[in-house]
C-alpha cells in the first residue's frame, strides 16, 4: 500500500483518530484492484457465524452461550411458580378465540432481563444501574417474546394432580373413554382449573460486547428456551401448594412456536450528515462496535422460515431515512440467509 511519506499513520491509529473516514476508505478503496470490505474484513452483507453451546449452567432450567464474533452472551432460563390466587384480577383462561386474555402478557409469565454492566466493553462501566441500552434491549426482547408468541402458554399452566393422573392412567378402553368424557365435561368445571403458572425468568448477561447486541441476545434466548426443561409440577390439594416430581424423566421441554431469528443492519453513509439520495450508503449487516458508533440508522428484521414460506415477525427501523421499501426487501433476503445460519448453529 502506497502511503505518502510526509504523514504515516498505522491503520489502527487512523481508525482511532477518525473512524468515519477510516471505514469509508475501506469501503471505497481508491485502488480498484482491492475489493471494498469493512474494517473487520467482511463484505457489507456478510454476517459473523454464530456458535451456540447449550446446557452449560447446571442450576438453570435451560441455558445457552452464544458467540457471534466477539460478542458473547450467556442466557439462563429459570422457572418459578406463581399461584393463580396470588395474581391480582385473575381470570381463568378459556378456549374462546375471541377472548381478550393473553396470559403470558397479562400475568407477566415471561420476565426477560439484559445485563450489560459486566465489564463486557470499555463503554459500559461494571456495577452501575442499567444503562439506556440495557433497558431498551430488555423492552425489545420482551415485546418480541410476546408479539411472536414464541412460548406456548398452555405448557406453563399447572393443574391439580388428579387430572394429570386421569390422562396418563386408565388401563382398559372403557375407563379411558370415561376419563376422556369426564375431561371434556370437566374442562369448564373447577376440577381442571389452573392452580398455578410457571414464570420464566430469562436472564441474559453479556460476557463480551462487540456490536449487534439484540440479535445475539435474541439468539441466546431462543437457544436457551429450546433447551429449557421444566419439572412436572402439580397442585397438591391437601397441602395447598405446588409440588414438583423429583424424577428427571418427568421434566418436559417447553413447546416453542417456530424459530424467529433477528437480523440487524446499520446504515453507513458517505457523509456524516447525509440526506437521502445525496451520497453513497452501505447497509452493514451484523455491525460491530466501531460500525455501530458511526451509523445513525439501524434496521432490524425478524423472520421465521420454519414453516417453509418466510414469515416476517417484526420490522423495526429508526434514526434515518435511507431505508425504504426496496432496501427493506433486500434486508429480508439477508435475514433469510441469516436464519439458515442460526438454524444450523442451533440444531
Amino acid at each position: 500500500m502506497a502511503t505518502p511519506k510526509s504523514l504515516t499513520l498505522s491503520s489502527t491509529t487512523f481508525a482511532k483518530l477518525s473512524p468515519h473516514p477510516y471505514l469509508l476508505a475501506n469501503l471505497q478503496p481508491t485502488d480498484s484492484s482491492t475489493t471494498p470490505t469493512r474494517t473487520n474484513g467482511r463484505q457489507p452483507s456478510q454476517t459473523r457465524l454464530p456458535y451456540i453451546n447449550t446446557s452449560s449452567l447446571s442450576h438453570a432450567h435451560g441455558s445457552a452461550v452464544v458467540r457471534n464474533g466477539d460478542t458473547t452472551v450467556i442466557c439462563g432460563v429459570r422457572g418459578e411458580t406463581i399461584l393463580t390466587s396470588a395474581i391480582p384480577n385473575y381470570r381463568a383462561p378459556s378456549d374462546d378465540p375471541s377472548s381478550s386474555l393473553d396470559e403470558a402478557r397479562d400475568y407477566d409469565l415471561l420476565v426477560p432481563n439484559i445485563e450489560l454492566a459486566t465489564g463486557c466493553a470499555p463503554n459500559f462501566l461494571p456495577g452501575v444501574p442499567p444503562t439506556t441500552l440495557a433497558q431498551t434491549l430488555s423492552t425489545r426482547v420482551y415485546s418480541l417474546l410476546h408479539s411472536s408468541k414464541l412460548v406456548d402458554v398452555s405448557r406453563l399452566r399447572i393443574y391439580p394432580e388428579e387430572v394429570g393422573e386421569k390422562n396418563i392412567g386408565g388401563d382398559d378402553d372403557k375407563k379411558m373413554d370415561e376419563a376422556e368424557e369426564i375431561d371434556e365435561y370437566a374442562a369448564v368445571a373447577e376440577e381442571k382449573a389452573v392452580k398455578a403458572y410457571w414464570v420464566l425468568y430469562i436472564d441474559v448477561l453479556f460476557i463480551s460486547f462487540d456490536g449487534n447486541p439484540f440479535d445475539t441476545a435474541w439468539t441466546a434466548i431462543l437457544a436457551a428456551l429450546r433447551d429449557t426443561k421444566l419439572p412436572l409440577a402439580y397442585w397438591d390439594a391437601d397441602r395447598e401448594m405446588v409440588l414438583c416430581k423429583r424424577s428427571q424423566k418427568a421434566a418436559a421441554p417447553l413447546s416453542l412456536r417456530g424459530l424467529p431469528v433477528a437480523c440487524t443492519g446499520a446504515v453507513f453513509t458517505e457523509r456524516e450528515k447525509q440526506k437521502k439520495g445525496s451520497g453513497r450508503y452501505w447497509v452493514l449487516v451484523d455491525p460491530d462496535r466501531l460500525e455501530e458508533g458511526l451509523c445513525d440508522e439501524t434496521v432490524t428484521v425478524v423472520v421465521d422460515k420454519l414453516s417453509g414460506s418466510t414469515k416476517v415477525l417484526g420490522i423495526s427501523k429508526h434514526g434515518g431515512t435511507v431505508v425504504g421499501p426496496e432496501l427493506m426487501k433486500e434486508m429480508v433476503i439477508t435475514a433469510e440467509s441469516r436464519w439458515d445460519q442460526v438454524r444450523a448453529a442451533i440444531e
Binding site: 375471541s98 381478550s100 393473553d102 442499567p130 439506556t132 433497558q135 431498551t136 430488555s138 423492552t139 425489545r140 420482551y142 415485546s143 418480541l144 408479539s147 411472536s148 450528515k273 440526506k275 437521502k276 445513525d296 414460506s309 418466510t310 414469515k311 416476517v312 415477525l313 417484526g314 420490522i315 423495526s316 427501523k317 429508526h318 434514526g319 434515518g320 431515512t321 431505508v323 425504504g324 421499501p325 427493506m328 426487501k329 429480508v332
Partner: protein, 268 residues
C-alpha cells in the same frame, strides 16, 4: 370507538416558562410537551459539532420504566434527524413529554405516534429550526377470510384482535423515518400497509380528493389540515403535506409572536 371519533386537538405555547410547549390529544392520549433549547449542555455530554437532543418521557402514572427508555431512544434518534442539530454545537435541546391521559390498554407502539406529534408541535412552538416535520400513523392488520383488512388508528380492542400492528412515521418530504412492525405478516402485506400509510400521511403525493373519500371518517388525519366549513377544523401541523405546509408554518410563525398566550385553534 370513542377514541377515533374525536379529532386531534392541539394547544400551543401554553407553558410560560418553557421555550416551547404544546399539548396534543388524540386517540385516547393527552401528552404535554415542553422544549428548552438550545441551552448549555453538561460538559461531559456536549458534542463538539452538534447539539445534544435529550428526550424525557414521563408516563401517566408512576415513574418511567424500561418502556419509557425505549420510547425515548426511538424519539431521540428520530428527532435528531429532523432538528438542525449542526446549527447549535455544544448545546442541548431538551424535550420533556408528560403523558397525562393514556387509554387503559396502552401499547408502546401506539404511544410513539402521539409522542412524535407532540414533540414536533413543541419544537415548532419553540421555533427550533427543523429540516422537516413528521407525520405518523398506526395501522393494525386483521385477517378476514383469507384477506387482510387494514385498520387505521385502531382501538385497543382492535389491536388485540389484529394479526400484526404497524407504526410508520414519515417526514414531510415523504421519506420513511421510523417503522415498528410486530405480529405476523409477509413482506407483500407490509408493502401494502406501507403504501396505505404513505397515502394517509403524505396526501400530497396522491390526489387529495380521492384520499379523503376512501378513508374512514373521523380517523382521517389528513382532513384536519384542510380547512373545512362544516366542521371544527382542529390544528394538525404534523400532517403537513408539501402543498399546505407553508400555510401551517405561517400560522405557527404568527403564533410564535404571541407566545405565552394559550391558544386553541378552531375554525380556520
Amino acid at each position: 370507538m370513542t377514541t377515533t371519533t374525536s379529532g386531534p386537538e392541539a394547544l400551543l405555547s401554553h407553558l410560560h416558562s418553557a421555550d416551547g410547549s404544546a399539548t396534543f390529544s388524540y386517540a385516547g392520549y393527552t401528552i404535554i410537551g415542553a422544549v428548552n433549547g438550545p441551552i448549555e449542555a453538561q460538559r461531559r455530554d456536549e458534542l463538539p459539532e452538534e447539539a445534544v437532543v435529550d428526550v424525557v418521557v414521563r408516563p401517566a402514572a408512576g415513574v418511567g420504566g424500561t418502556r419509557e427508555r425505549h420510547l425515548e431512544g426511538l424519539l431521540q434518534s428520530t428527532l435528531r434527524q429532523i432538528i438542525l442539530v449542526t446549527h447549535f454545537p455544544r448545546s442541548l435541546i431538551q424535550i420533556t413529554l408528560q403523558v397525562t391521559i393514556a387509554p387503559e390498554n396502552e401499547y408502546v407502539s401506539t404511544k410513539v405516534v402521539q409522542a412524535n406529534t407532540t414533540a414536533v408541535l413543541t419544537l415548532m412552538s419553540a421555533a427550533i429550526p427543523l429540516t422537516a416535520t413528521l407525520t405518523s400513523v398506526v395501522i393494525a392488520a386483521t385477517a378476514e377470510d383469507g384477506s387482510t383488512r387494514e385498520i387505521i388508528n385502531p382501538t385497543a380492542r382492535e389491536i388485540q384482535m389484529s394479526r400484526s400492528l404497524h407504526v410508520f412515521a414519515f417526514t414531510s418530504h415523504g421519506d420513511l423515518i421510523l417503522t415498528q412492525s410486530e405480529g405476523e405478516f409477509t413482506m407483500k402485506e407490509w408493502e401494502d400497509i406501507l403504501a396505505s400509510a404513505q397515502r394517509h400521511c403524505c396526501p400530497s403525493t396522491s390526489g387529495d380528493v380521492s384520499m379523503g373519500d376512501d378513508e374512514a371518517s373521523g380517523a382521517n388525519l389528513g382532513k384536519f389540515t384542510r380547512i373545512r366549513n362544516d366542521k371544527k377544523a382542529h390544528f394538525e401541523p404534523p400532517n403537513l403535506g408539501v402543498s399546505n405546509s407553508s400555510a401551517v408554518l405561517a400560522a405557527l410563525a404568527s403564533m410564535g409572536l404571541n407566545r405565552g398566550s394559550p391558544m386553541h385553534l378552531e375554525e380556520g
